[in-house]
């Protein structure tokens, strides 16, 4: 083997390439990450719409008159804690620790449901005050953006319960663990989008 051939062989590869093909867990995570980024791009379109229309109240109520920061703070705490317990549940799954997995997944579901209940109550009280999505362009954009996030949380809750049932039925199999990884990525991403929502919609809507 000549020196020239040697230099393009595995010895010349960077460290990560020399380890051979990546594990399935990394490939699945990458593919799901691409999907999540496309979801984030969709949300960014809703954010842009909201930012353009946030002043167009058509003589109706503005964010200052409608938003209660106490509710938003509790919603934020619920979602952050659910993200945390979801992470702990993932560790439990990787250690095949059933109690750690089910307990933390149940807490995740509880905090997620609490978030959703507060959000539904907020939406219902806004609609009851005559500030529904048809009132003004601002409220249309608000209900689209925040409602779309709420829809994602609802679907995430269903997925979460499915993952608990799958582990119950099939145990900590490699393919089930990859699904748990995808769910965790999804749930943490929803929290990232909520950071954008509570900053742009609620805090900036109420700030002077």
């Amino acid at each position: 083997m000549s020196a020239a051939q040697e230099s393009i062989g595995p010895a010349a590869w960077p460290e990560h390439a020399a380890r051979g093909p990546a594990s399935k867990r990394i490939i699945v995570g990458y593919g799901f990450w691409i999907f999540l980024l496309s979801d984030i791009i969709m949300f960014s379109a809703f954010f842009a719409t909201y930012a353009v229309l946030s002043g167009e109240t058509a003589g109706g109520p503005a964010g200052k008159d409608l938003f209660h920061l106490h509710t938003v703070a509790i919603e934020t705490a619920c979602l952050l804690l659910s993200s945390f317990t979801c992470g702990i549940a993932s560790i439990g799954a990787r250690a095949y620790n059933a109690l750690m997995y089910y307990g933390n997944k149940a807490l995740t579901a509880l905090f997620g449901a609490g978030f959703l209940a507060l959000e539904i109550r907020e939406f219902a009280s806004m609609v009851a005050q005559g500030a529904g999505p048809t009132r003004s362009a601002f409220l249309s954009a608000f209900f689209t953006l925040v409602g779309c996030h709420g829809l994602h949380v609802t679907l995430g809750l269903m997925w979460l319960l499915t993952m608990m049932a799958q582990v119950f039925a099939k145990g900590f199999r490699a393919d089930i663990l990859r699904r748990i990884l995808c769910f965790a990525l999804f749930w943490h991403t929803l929290d990232i989008i909520w950071v954008g929502i509570f900053t742009v919609v609620y805090l900036m809507g109420v700030a002077p």
């Binding site: 990450w33 945390f84 992470g87 990232i192 805090l203």
Partner: protein, 133 residues
């Protein structure tokens, strides 16, 4: 068998590194990561809610401060919860994220820019109504 071949065949079983059952040390490390992430995110959130309602700071600086805190918190979530790191396994994830951030930036800033220019050049609505009569 050369050293390279040994390296290539180190993991010829089906379990790749990171796929095997986590031991006690890995569990402790993982827990610590999530606790650090939770504390940092909680502090940043509390700061954002405090700054939005306070009269202690110069008022025009509030939106910028909120933006900075939000971006910092998104970074904390990415690193401590989603584990987007600079490790060799993560190069593809980081590049995809960079592309995603570029698109998000173009979409939001582009929309705001174009719409504010259109707004600026538009005839005021009451004048438009008079012309249509």
């Amino acid at each position: 068998m050369s050293g390279i071949e040994q390296r290539l065949h180190l993991h010829d079983s089906d379990t790749a590194p990171g796929d095997e059952r986590a031991d006690g040390r890995e569990v402790a490390e993982g827990l610590l990561g999530y606790v650090v992430g939770l504390v940092l995110a909680a502090v940043l959130t509390a700061m954002a809610f405090f700054i939005a309602g306070t009269s202690l700071v110069w008022q025009p600086s509030i939106p910028i401060a909120l933006f900075v805190l939000a971006i910092a918190q998104m970074g904390v979530h990415l690193v401590f919860f989603l584990h987007i790191t600079t490790g060799p396994d993560n190069v593809n994830n980081v590049l995809a994220l960079a592309f995603g951030v570029l698109i998000v930036f173009l979409l939001i800033v582009g929309s705001l820019w174009i719409m504010s220019h259109l707004n600026h050049n538009m005839i005021p609505m009451d004048q438009m109504m008079q012309m249509q009569r």
